[in-house]
């Protein structure tokens, strides 16, 4: 890659912008998805009274996403990351409906927490780095005396964006309530910013962290399965897609775990993660955009255009998904136990996609558009997702294309069969439901309590301080009063002794002064 950079030495802490092989892929995804979603939004929101507000936040969020891809120094990266985070809040609560406001609250709370954690991680890493350039800060993360803390902070901080298990709760709430073009970029492009943060700053290829690597891979697999399970028990198509995003990000995380465990495995893992991100972004974008298209006359054609990216996500042979999964599996050579589990994640994906297609066909979205612009943008996104399978991405040095194989096909067939079985069996199994945001529900109860507690603590501290102050004041007044009465008494005694005594005192004082 050409190491050309745009350097603004006077801006912020010295801004640098540029591209490398990995960020090129993210740049492509960001540009394509945001452009198509933008065109889509023009049609989708043409009658919306708050259109201008949407466009403002859309443009700001896009600027943040674009800037963080191009940034080559840690401060600029964090600047654009924060811009994207805060501007996206306007997209989440766009409708101002109670569900949107609730999603917004959860989003902003987790986002602020994430920003704080990742800033702490970045500062610890940067304090061991000679410059603020991203490569140096990554080396700093590896060299930091607090390496474990750095890794933990970065995993959790960026994990909020990437939908990592434990801090994923905002995705299934926020992605469905945002207007459809916003959901597409939230789920397609924005969560990849968290992944890019990991790729940039985790000490991948710098130091061997087998413990962290295995933990990360295990967490990724857990997310992949857990989200698939929670996702199939949803009633809203966009919520299912949001859970699918958590599941897919979990699969990508497994590759990162391999890279973190063994430095030699980092390069293929990074390449696989980047390509997987591109594949998932385009396919997920196409699915989200499709939800908002009103069921037109040609129902089968619409179904087909939704089916293609869905199958790509499940990893159908000859699709971008098959390429991505192959690259991912190849990067797991040092984490051999994880590879055989991946096909089962693909089964989960197939179940999610079946559930999604069923929900779309059955009911469709609350708000669907008949705009031609939106239709064109959606179809372009589907086309991009399909075409990705033939796009040569030489810069990434992915393993050569694969022949269609049985190992790609069986998880899809198994998933499809399972879906049909559950659907036709009826009974209790098909009616199991999980509330969107899953663990959030018990957590919120606890959080409300602690929130009240914090307020009460603040008020209590005030009362205690006030009371203490009042007590001190009272004691002081008491003391002053006592002193005054003592003085009064003394003076009265002096007066009683007559002026002779007073004269004597003055004389003594005078003598001392002499």
């Amino acid at each position: 890659m050409t190491p050309e950079m745009l350097v603004l030495p006077w801006a912020l802490l010295g801004m640098r912008f540029g591209l490398d092989a990995v960020t090129q892929v993210f740049l492509g995804l960001t540009l394509v998805l945001w452009a198509l979603a933008g065109v889509y939004a023009m049609g989708y929101l043409s009658a919306d009274p708050r259109r201008r507000s949407f466009m403002l936040f859309f443009a700001l969020t896009f600027s943040g996403n674009l800037g963080l891809v191009l940034a080559r120094d840690v401060a600029s990266f964090y600047l654009f990351f924060a811009l994207m985070t805060f501007a996206a809040y306007g997209l989440v609560i766009h409708t101002r409906e109670p569900a949107a406001l609730r999603a917004g609250r959860v989003y902003i709370a987790l986002a602020v927490l994430g920003e704080a954690l990742l800033l702490a991680g970045l500062m610890l890493a940067a304090s061991s780095a000679p410059t603020l350039e991203i490569a140096d800060v990554r080396a700093g993360a590896a060299a930091s005396p607090q390496r474990g803390a750095v890794v933990a902070l970065l995993l959790a901080g960026f994990g909020v964006k990437a939908g990592a298990l434990g801090v994923h709760m905002w995705l299934p709430l926020a992605h469905p309530v945002a207007p459809t073009p916003a959901s597409a970029v939230l789920s397609g492009a924005m969560i990849k910013a968290g992944l890019l943060g990991w790729l940039h700053f985790l000490p991948l290829g710098e130091s061997a962290l087998p413990g962290w690597g295995i933990a990360l891979a295990a967490a990724g697999l857990a997310a992949a399965f857990y989200a698939a399970l929670a996702g199939v028990m949803q009633d809203d198509a966009k919520t299912v897609l949001a859970y699918s995003s958590i599941s897919q990000m979990g699969i990508i995380t497994v590759a990162l775990g391999a890279g973190l465990a063994v430095p030699g495995a980092a390069a293929p893992a990074i390449a696989a993660a980047a390509f997987y991100a591109l594949h998932h972004g385009l396919a997920k974008g196409a699915l989200f955009l499709g939800v908002g298209i009103a069921p037109a006359v040609r129902q089968p054609a619409r179904f087909a255009a939704l089916l293609l990216p869905a199958l790509a996500l499940a990893g159908m042979p000859q699709s971008s998904g098959a390429l991505a999964k192959y690259a991912l599996k190849s990067s797991l050579s040092e984490l051999a136990w994880a590879a055989p589990l991946l096909p089962f994640a693909a089964v989960g994906t197939t179940l999610l996609m079946a559930r999604f297609l069923f929900l779309v066909q059955a009911g469709g979205a609350k708000h669907a558009t008949r705009s031609r612009r939106a239709l064109v943008a959606w179809l372009a996104c589907v086309a991009a997702s399909v075409a990705l399978a033939w796009l040569p991405l030489r810069a990434l040095e992915l393993p050569a294309a694969v022949e269609p194989s049985w190992s790609d096909a069986w998880p899809i067939l198994l998933g499809a069969a399972l879906s049909v079985a559950v659907a036709s069996a009826g009974g209790g199994l098909g009616r199991l439901r999980v509330p969107p945001g899953d663990v959030l529900v018990p957590l919120m109860a606890a959080a409300t309590g602690s929130h009240r507690g914090a307020h009460a603590l603040g008020a209590r501290l005030g009362t205690v301080a006030r009371r203490g102050f009042a007590r001190l004041q009272a004691r002081w007044r008491e003391g002053v009063k006592r002193l005054r009465s003592a003085c009064d008494a003394g003076e009265a005694r002096l007066r009683a002794a007559g002026s002779a005594a007073a004269l004597l005192v003055i004389a003594v004082v005078f003598l001392f002064l002499q």
Binding site: A11, L12, G14, V112, L117, L124, S127
Partner: protein, 502 residues
């Protein structure tokens, strides 16, 4: 009298002479008084810029006048004093404009502006003081000149606030004076110098030095709002908005923090302070203050009270940074002298605008105010995000240097404190921003006198709006252009280099 000796005196005189002239002026000479005020402020800013240029190119400005044998009155320019002088000259200009608009049509303006100028004169004196005794002189003068401003409205609440303010600050002043006198007893003179002067004393005096340090810090900590000496601060915010703005951003609170930095770096010397084991406890107090102030701010509904507790919290960033051994932490603390000033003054200007224009004093009443007063709320939002530490605002630069400085010094708990404080800041600022921009207004606005003076389509009196927008622009510029040579950060870096090369 050469230029290099006259310059500090001239900077001081621009506000001292203005003050005297205003006191002599009749109450109804509004035009002339405004001209004097703004003229003095502008002249001071020009002089300060000339001095900055000189200091940057190595000129030493010093005025020395013997008071008693061995006790000199010294005004001198160094990097730290220029940072503070520039801040106060710049903010004084805007606060004056703001105060003129704010007090339009109210009584006792002659008294107000007279003491206002005296207050700034004291601040400049504190900044330029070249030794501890000169510092104490202006420190006390500041206390006395701000009291009439705090009680300006004359209401029982204001008088009570004034009483509390005076009790605290005079008490603090006494401690500082005692510490200073003790130190002068041990040393022939206490001129501020890089690396400090106290380390020259033999080891048998170290216990005394520690006691003096406690006296000085306790006295300065009153004004800097270190918990538990901060109680006067939220009470004193009944003062008119320009006074609160000045009190919280440059004058009183900052004088305390500046004094602590002076004591640490130029009296004791940072490495000697560390050797005496003084930094750890002070850092602990500062960290506690940061968290305590933020938690208290959460529960305040009155906007100015919330801002006051936020000041308690934010000023301790300066103290905390000063206590982190190593140039990076020093940079973070010293640069926050400026950053906290420009951000907090913006917030108080905006709070004043809301009160004067729409009669809004409480956070719970701010729903939808962004649509009615978009410029004011834009400035407020920028400053609030800066306080949270969002880039590219000034607060981010502070937090960054404090964080990496603390990490480099191995004080990892400081990073945790910073993050907790960021989250708490977000918790008490973001709801305001949210309510103003996203919630619909509850009832029609009740427009006040400032709204009536708004020219054309402007949301309020331009003299209230321009200062808020200007300081908000500084808050953005100080962060976005931090790496530029003449930014506050650039200046703080020069100071840190000096402090550690000695």
């Amino acid at each position: 009298l050469s230029w290099s000796a006259a310059a500090p005196l001239a900077v001081l005189a621009t506000s001292l002479v203005t003050a005297l002239a205003i006191f002599l002026l009749a109450e109804e000479r509004h035009g002339l008084r405004t001209a004097l005020n703004l003229g003095g402020a502008a002249l001071k800013l020009l002089l300060v810029i000339a001095m900055l240029w000189g200091v940057y190119h190595g000129t030493d400005y010093e005025l020395r006048y013997p008071l008693l044998a061995g006790v000199d009155f010294v005004l001198r320019s160094d990097l730290l004093s220029m940072l503070f002088v520039t801040l106060s000259a710049l903010l004084w200009l805007f606060t004056t404009l703001y105060a003129v608009g704010y007090l339009e049509g109210s009584p006792h303006r002659s008294r107000f502006f007279g003491f206002f100028s005296l207050c700034v004169a004291s601040t400049v004196g504190i900044a330029l003081a070249g030794n501890l005794i000169t510092f104490v002189f202006f420190y006390e003068m500041l206390t006395l000149s701000t009291y009439p401003l705090v009680v300006h409205r004359g209401t029982p609440k204001a008088l009570y606030a004034g009483k509390v303010y005076l009790a605290y600050t005079l008490g603090g002043g006494t401690l500082v004076l005692a510490g200073t006198a003790w130190l002068y007893g041990l040393l022939p003179s206490v001129d501020f110098s890089h690396g400090g002067v106290a380390s020259a004393l033999a080891a048998e005096h170290h216990a005394a030095l520690i006691a003096i340090f406690v006296l000085l810090i306790a006295g300065l900590g009153v004004k800097a709002g270190l918990v538990p000496l901060h109680t006067w601060l939220p009470i004193a915010m009944v003062a008119p908005a320009p006074v609160s703005a000045l009190l919280h951003a440059v004058a009183v609170v900052k004088a305390g923090a500046f004094g602590i930095v002076r004591v640490l770096y130029d009296v004791y010397g940072i490495e000697f302070s560390a050797a005496l084991g003084l930094l750890g406890p002070l850092a602990g107090i500062a960290a506690f203050t940061i968290l305590y102030g933020s938690v208290r701010a959460l529960a305040q509904d009155e906007l100015k009270r919330r801002l006051a507790f936020s000041t308690v919290s934010q000023v301790s960033y300066i103290v905390l940074g000063a206590c982190v051994l190593g140039p990076l932490g020093t940079i973070g603390g010293v640069v926050h002298l400026v950053h906290q000033g420009i951000m907090k003054i913006t917030l108080f200007f905006c709070a004043g605008n809301l009160a004067e224009t729409l009669g809004l004093h409480h956070v719970s009443r701010l729903d939808g105010v962004g649509r009615r007063m978009p410029w004011t709320m834009a400035a407020f939002t920028a400053a609030a995000l800066g306080m949270i530490g969002v880039p590219p605002l000034a607060g981010f630069v502070t937090k960054w240097y404090l964080g990496i400085g603390a990490a480099a010094a191995g004080m990892y708990w400081v990073v945790a404190v910073l993050m907790a404080s960021s989250v708490l800041n977000a918790a008490y600022f973001l709801p305001i921003v949210y309510a103003a921009w996203f919630k619909p207004p509850r009832e029609p606005w009740k427009e006040n006198k400032a709204a009536a003076r708004a020219p054309g389509r402007l949301e309020t009196d331009w003299r209230l709006l321009v200062p808020a927008l200007a300081t908000a622009a500084f808050s953005i510029g100080a962060g976005a252009l931090a790496a530029a040579e003449f930014s506050p950060l650039g200046w703080a870096k020069l100071f840190a280099i000096q402090a550690y090369l000695q």
